[in-house]
Symmetry: C3
Subunit: 133 residues, 3 copies
């Protein structure tokens, strides 16, 4: 079971919660025990797990990433988005989640976010479900 979801980001830096789309696909698949692999097929956007309850946390994450990897620096890449590539390698492009009894195992306030570092852009997220059986 494999699906690609599509979304449009609206800011250069943005965390977009994508848990509902993943949950819906798990429900649709009927898989009760297994894993879900999330893959962002871009090199200037990544994926992370973090807190969804307070959007300020997402803002703090993005702000600190901008401090650590500023947009302007002595970069060689001429497209002007080297900072976005670097941030992706720090945050990562894949996550593997556990499905147990039809439910994605996550902490109470833990969710899944696409991390946009060079938006606004059209983005894809690949979702693969592997069943136990």
């Amino acid at each position: 079971m494999f699906k690609t979801i599509h979304l449009k980001t609206t800011e250069r830096f943005q965390m977009v919660e994508i848990l509902d789309e993943i949950k819906n696909y798990v429900a649709e698949s009927g898989v009760r025990y297994g894993v879900v692999v999330i893959h962002v097929p871009h090199t200037t956007a990544g994926v992370t797990l973090n807190k969804n309850y307070d959007p300020v946390v997402q803002n703090d994450i993005l702000t600190k990433l901008k401090d650590i990897v500023p947009k302007e620096d002595h970069y060689g890449h001429i497209e002007g988005n080297s900072d976005a590539h670097i941030k992706v390698s720090l945050i990562g492009s894949t996550e593997t989640l556990i499905v147990d009894d039809g439910r994605i195992e996550l902490g109470m306030f833990q969710s899944v976010f696409l991390c946009e570092f060079d938006g606004p852009k059209k983005r894809r997220i690949n979702i693969k479900i592997l069943s136990d059986k």
Copy 2:
């Protein structure tokens, strides 16, 4: 096969080796070929693979993370642990390990650590084993 292990951290910043618990569960499962997914269901603690032979390495990792993401900064999140959330997105919340012939494939000094960034706290680690067959 899915299991949650529980532990208590004792420091605000701490790396706790969890390889024995994972190894025991793989042995118990009887799975000889497959993968193990490790998931930390918290947003202020993560998981990483690194060296277990010299505990000073763990200390160097935690100290440098504190330099990169200081506890106090212009954070918006009012709970006072934004730094912990940011560190989690840098380190990650999931790992997928390979099981071959009943053995978890790791380097000679490579091990699995829960990374506590906002302890001391009670923490859970989800372990899922997917068999090849």
Copy 3:
């Protein structure tokens, strides 16, 4: 299906593209639907997904990582490669890729790189393929 590939890095800091080796193993395995787990069994080299089209991007990533985690600092580890261990925990040691219709799902310019942080060294990369069926 499990395989270890071997390579020699030639620099202290280097990103080595390993996608061809992974593609070849997927083709050889005959698996059309499933996932591929990539694991680097070292603690001073990691794995990341990023852009392969412009090698300058790889250079920008490595240069910025050297800024964030300098080789010399107040590290306790006496082997002189604490920076490499820290970089590995930031970049990560595992990736899980999706295989659909015999093809590894990646973005157009997205590829897989071993990240050498303490070379030149002989390195191994573990590749595990899990089939859907």
